[in-house]
């Protein structure tokens, strides 16, 4: 293999730092430890999956699902529920945008009390304190909306106004409002300062700067994030339905408790269709609008 020119070195090569480094080794060991710990803890059964009991159980269940219930009556109802779920996600996302927009400008430090918009301010500690307080409470509100899982919101609202898609849409709107508020906030806080300083230099008021300098920069990203969230929301709308918030999710819960597996498959197919459609539509709009 080795010809005349290339043989093992006559003199020793420089010693590299021992590859791999100890920190890499430690990370790998930690990684494996975590894997073993969670394998055991979750009663994961690899053997079961690869041809053992679990595989058989899954197989049995899958055969129970086929064929899907394609009776005309049920298909029409499924179509209706699909539209219901779509409506939930659509309005929920809309509500979320409203909530996020209402809060985001108050929750951004660079709009409330820090940064170039405020450097020349006379120092009035009381006003500054109020502004800071406003900012923090807006941030806290968004945090709250975001952290409470959408399912918990749904349960609360179902409890409050009864079953159906309305509480689902509200829950989606509230929870996603928090998420979007946080995402929008990041965009606003990373806005480019130069145009703002330029506008400020012309003597524009803060509100004018908001409209001329900030909004044009952030709106495209707002739209992009909103469209991304819509893709998530259509999936969440299905989940919320499970706890009583209407749409396909609620029907799935019913089908499951009545052991109507064929209907379950139809509903799942409907979910597949609507989610794919929304994904495509969202990507299309992102291409056009952003």
């Amino acid at each position: 293999m080795a010809n005349a020119p290339l043989q093992a070195a006559a003199f020793a090569p420089p010693k590299g730092r021992g590859l791999p480094s100890t920190s890499t080794l430690m990370i790998l060991v930690g990684f494996f430890a975590l894997m073993i710990w969670s394998y055991v803890g979750t009663e994961f059964s690899l053997r079961g999956l690869l041809g053992g009991e679990s595989a058989a159980q899954i197989g049995t269940y899958v055969t129970k699902l086929f064929p899907p219930d394609l009776s005309r009556d049920f298909l029409l109802k499924t179509g209706y529920w699909t539209l219901e779920t779509f409506a939930m996600s659509f309005l929920g996302t809309l509500l979320a945008v409203l909530i996020a927009l209402a809060l985001v400008f108050f929750s951004s430090r660079n709009l409330m009390f820090a940064g170039p918009l405020f450097e020349m301010e006379r120092s009035r500690p009381s006003v500054r304190a109020v502004r800071t307080g406003l900012c923090l409470s807006a941030k806290a509100t968004l945090n709250l909306l975001r952290t409470v899982p959408h399912i918990v919101w749904a349960l609360i609202l179902v409890f409050a106004v009864g079953l159906g898609p309305f509480p689902g849409m509200l829950a989606l709107g509230i929870h996603t409002g928090g998420v979007l508020g946080r995402l929008f906030g990041e965009v606003v806080e990373n806005v480019e300062t130069q145009p703002i300083e330029a506008l400020q230099g012309t003597g524009a008021s803060r509100l004018q700067i908001l409209f001329y300098g900030i909004l044009p920069q952030v709106l495209p990203e707002f739209v992009a994030y909103t469209l991304y969230r819509w893709e998530v929301n259509i999936r969440e709308a299905v989940i919320l339905g499970y706890v009583g918030a209407g749409g396909l999710g609620q029907q799935i819960q019913i089908a499951i408790s009545l052991f109507l597996e064929h209907r379950l498959l139809t509903l799942i197919l409907a979910i597949y269709v609507i989610v794919t459609l929304v994904d495509y539509f969202s990507a299309y709009l992102r291409g056009r609008l952003v």
């Binding site: 293999m1 080795a2 010809n3 005349a4 020119p5 290339l6 043989q7 093992a8 070195a9 090569p13 420089p14 590299g16 730092r17 590859l19 791999p20």
Partner: protein, 271 residues
């Protein structure tokens, strides 16, 4: 070593990059290819190192019809051909030692390749190769920290480790500081001389080609314009080769525009 008969390469059924090329190269020969950009030099080399298939015509390597090769056999033949690229094509984040040793991948079984990534199994070999190209101390540096010229040397070291029978160098010095270019060309020639390898080099610089190679081939519009020993290269040859191509950009545009429509190459006639 190589025998090409009426080799064509057509892209997208529209662009004929190589047009009925005939070429014979003997083992151990040293040749330089020159010609304007877009003349098909790189396409020719990619066919010679078995990266892309020809559209029609026969390509024999050491008597083997490479069109029939597939899978393991193909890889074995590829191992015998080493390539040095204009853009060196190293993996930036890896330390130099891995990039050099990747020349051995054609010979190593997969488990060996994996083991070497964890701890380099033939670091000595890599060191020796780097010594031959002049930068042995860089063995464990991250490749992207090296200069362009040094990275090209690492690429040459990779080729040395692969130890092929043929060296194809596709404009190896075009991305390198001109002051260093001659040095690298000479290095490649020395290395190929010492082990009787066949060396074929694409060059942008006519001077470098004429100065260092015994045989020069001019390529234009996918066809061989001339194929003579260096001593017989005339100004007429060069004028015909670069006619109408004053600037770099001009060369690109002019020669691309002159692509003739496909007439004599049928894609399925690979014999």
């Amino acid at each position: 070593m190589y025998q090409l008969d009426r080799v064509c390469k057509v892209f997208d059924s529209r662009t004929m990059a190589v047009d009925e090329l005939n070429l014979k190269v003997r083992r151990g020969e040293k040749l330089a290819f020159i010609g304007p950009s877009g003349a098909g030099k790189t396409t020719l080399f990619r066919m010679l190192n078995l990266t892309i298939p020809q559209t029609s015509g026969t390509l024999l390597f050491d008597g083997l019809n490479i069109a029939r090769l597939y899978g393991r056999r193909l890889r074995e033949v590829r191992r015998r051909i080493g390539t040095v690229y204009q853009q060196h094509n190293l993996i930036p984040r890896l330390p130099v030692v891995h990039n050099v040793l990747s020349g051995k991948l054609g010979a190593w079984p997969v488990w060996r390749a994996v083991r070497s990534l964890i701890r380099p199994t033939e670091a000595d070999l890599a060191y020796e190769a780097l010594r031959q190209v002049g930068i042995p101390e860089k063995l464990y540096d991250r490749t992207e920290t090296l200069s362009g010229g040094q990275q090209q040397r690492v690429a040459i070291a990779r080729m040395l480790v692969q130890d092929p029978e043929v060296i194809l160098a596709d404009e190896p010095v075009s991305s390198v500081d001109p002051a260093l270019a001659a040095g690298i060309v000479k290095l490649l020639i020395e290395l190929s001389e010492a082990s009787r390898k066949t060396l074929m080099m694409n060059l942008h610089s006519v001077d470098l080609a004429l100065a260092h190679f015994p045989r020069v081939i001019g390529l234009r519009d996918g066809k061989i314009s001339f194929d003579v020993p260096t001593a017989e290269v005339t100004d007429e040859h060069l004028a015909a080769l670069y006619a109408g191509n004053q600037t770099e950009a001009g060369e690109e545009v002019a020669s691309r525009a002159e692509r003739r429509p496909v007439r004599s190459c049928r894609p399925h006639l690979i014999s």
